[in-house]
């Protein structure tokens, strides 16, 4: 995945200090470093480029507002992704509300209900939509690990470092995430259990 994997040249704590002092360049560096990660998290849940970009923008707005509350030493990326996740959930709910308001104009397929009678092409798109919805249902830590592992293609030791957890915990959360998705997605997979 095209992504800035290199560690930030300047430690994030120093960048945060500079942002607190009103340094625009430091803020720009943080945005450049983390914007794709936030985008991936949001896209995994919303599955819409423009919506995900809105969440990216809102996340960095919030980051700037809340930068004083960040405790140096705790995982910055985990903190930032937590903000992003909450915003994506809010966005998702808002989107659903809008869906409800315009339900009369939507076909059943557009209203996100996958049925067995869907044609193959629609079914493939539906399945990705269903996956994104179910990923959004995962518990917070499971979801983060799943997104980092599969969408950012990070190794478990990198995930552990990014989220400030042990490698064993990262593996265990990933296992639970896949098991949950398997359980929820079974009706769509055509597998008889």
């Amino acid at each position: 995945m095209a992504d800035e994997r290199q560690p930030v040249a300047e430690p994030v704590a120093a960048l945060v200090d500079r942002v607190r002092a009103g340094d625009r360049d430091a803020f720009l560096t943080i945005v450049q470093t983390y914007q794709q990660k936030v985008f991936m998290m949001a896209y995994a849940m919303l599955r819409n480029r423009e919506d995900a970009l809105d969440v990216v923008q809102e996340t960095f707005f919030r980051l700037h507002q809340k930068i004083e509350t960040y405790r140096p030493g705790s995982g910055f990326q985990a903190w930032l992704l937590q903000i992003a996740r909450r915003l994506a959930i809010d966005y998702y709910r808002k989107h659903l509300k809008d869906d409800r308001a315009h339900a009369s104009n939507l076909s059943l397929e557009d209203a996100r209900v996958a049925t067995e009678s869907n044609p193959a092409a629609e079914r493939a798109a539906d399945l990705r939509q269903v996956l994104s919805r179910e990923v959004g249902r995962l518990a917070e830590r499971q979801q983060r690990v799943f997104v980092l592992r599969h969408y950012e293609e990070l190794q478990f030791h990198e995930i552990a470092e990014a989220l400030d957890i042990s490698v064993g915990t990262a593996k265990s959360l990933h296992f639970k995430a896949v098991q949950n998705l398997k359980k929820w997605l079974t009706p769509y997979l055509g597998v008889t259990t």
């Binding site: 995945m1 095209a2 992504d3 625009r24 803020f27 720009l28 945005v31 450049q32 914007q35 794709q36 985008f39 991936m40 896209y43 995994a44 599955r47 480029r49 995900a52 970009l53 990216v56 923008q57 960095f60 707005f61 700037h64 659903l96 509300k97 339900a103 059943l108 209203a111 996100r112 209900v113 049925t115 067995e116 493939a124 399945l127 990705r128 996956l131 994104s132 249902r137 599969h150 969408y151 293609e153 478990f156 593996k171 990933h174 296992f175 896949v178 998705l181 398997k182 359980k183 929820w184 997605l185 079974t186 009706p187 997979l189 055509g190 597998v191 008889t192 259990t193």
Partner: protein, 263 residues
């Protein structure tokens, strides 16, 4: 070590992407002779394959964005908004401009005099707060009002959970009833509307646990409210399993008990 135990361990390695050729062969071999494990392996493969397709889509989306311009744009907007806030938050600077914008000291003094005079008149003529019968008005303290709000939020949440529980119990229990609608969609829609009003209260009252369970219920109701009446039994069964697997009814009972003890 029995075969099932080995299969679970091998499957965990497979899911983690750490299965070598030997493990893969062992998984295949076991799955060939065991229908249940074969289904499990197929389901895991299905999830990983769907994820892989979604990753391709995500990759295309990431590559379609001009990240350099996006970062610049966000930074520009954030700092512009920050500057606007700072300007609004600096009344002293506004006074400085008021006094300095070409106003001669005499006019500035007159203007200030007017403001001070108006304030003095207001203080002198202001009537003490009295009730209709001349009794003093008692005002509730902010702490008291906060307590009342919290108590109301708890009661509202309790009621919402109570009604949701009844609805979900019916949904799970009536699974086998023929001829009955699988779900009272109208009630679910009412509860969804109520949840919208409940959201700010849950946020402000900081009822994290109650909020989490209410959110889960809301998610489920959203799905159920959209259901077609002729939904395949498999889909209904899946949703019933969601209620059971997540132990929603049990969780609702626990949160209700907690809230009842606090009300």
């Amino acid at each position: 070590m029995n075969a099932k135990h080995t299969f679970d361990e091998d499957l965990a390695a497979y899911i983690a992407g750490e299965a070598d050729e030997k493990i893969r062969l062992r998984l295949e071999e076991h799955a060939r002779g065991c229908a249940r494990c074969r289904a499990e392996l197929e389901a895991v493969r299905g999830v990983l394959s769907m994820t892989s397709a979604a990753r391709e889509e995500l990759r295309a989306a990431v590559e379609s964005v001009d990240w350099e311009a996006t970062a610049e744009g966000i930074t520009e907007q954030v700092f512009r908004a920050g500057t606007a806030r700072q300007t609004a938050a600096r009344p002293a600077a506004a006074w400085g401009r008021f006094l300095g914008l070409g106003l001669k000291p005499v006019f500035a003094g007159l203007a200030l005099g007017l403001v001070v005079g108006a304030l003095a008149m207001y203080v002198a003529l202001r009537r003490p707060p009295v009730g209709q019968a001349g009794r003093p008005v008692f005002q509730a303290s902010p702490e008291f009002l906060a307590q009342v709000e919290l108590a109301l939020a708890r009661r509202e949440t309790l009621d919402y959970l109570e009604k949701s529980q009844i609805l979900l119990q019916d949904f799970v229990r009536d699974g086998s009833d023929v001829g009955r609608p699988p779900f009272e969609k109208a009630v679910a829609r009412d509860l969804l509307t109520r949840k919208n009003y409940l959201n700010p209260q849950l946020e402000t009252a900081r009822m994290t646990k109650a909020k989490a369970i209410c959110d889960q219920i809301e998610f489920l109701f959203l799905e159920l409210a959209r259901l077609d009446d002729d939904l395949p039994p498999a889909e209904l069964e899946r949703l019933r399993r969601v209620v059971e697997d997540r132990q929603l009814l049990l969780k609702i009972s626990l949160v209700k008990k907690e809230l009842e003890s606090e009300v």
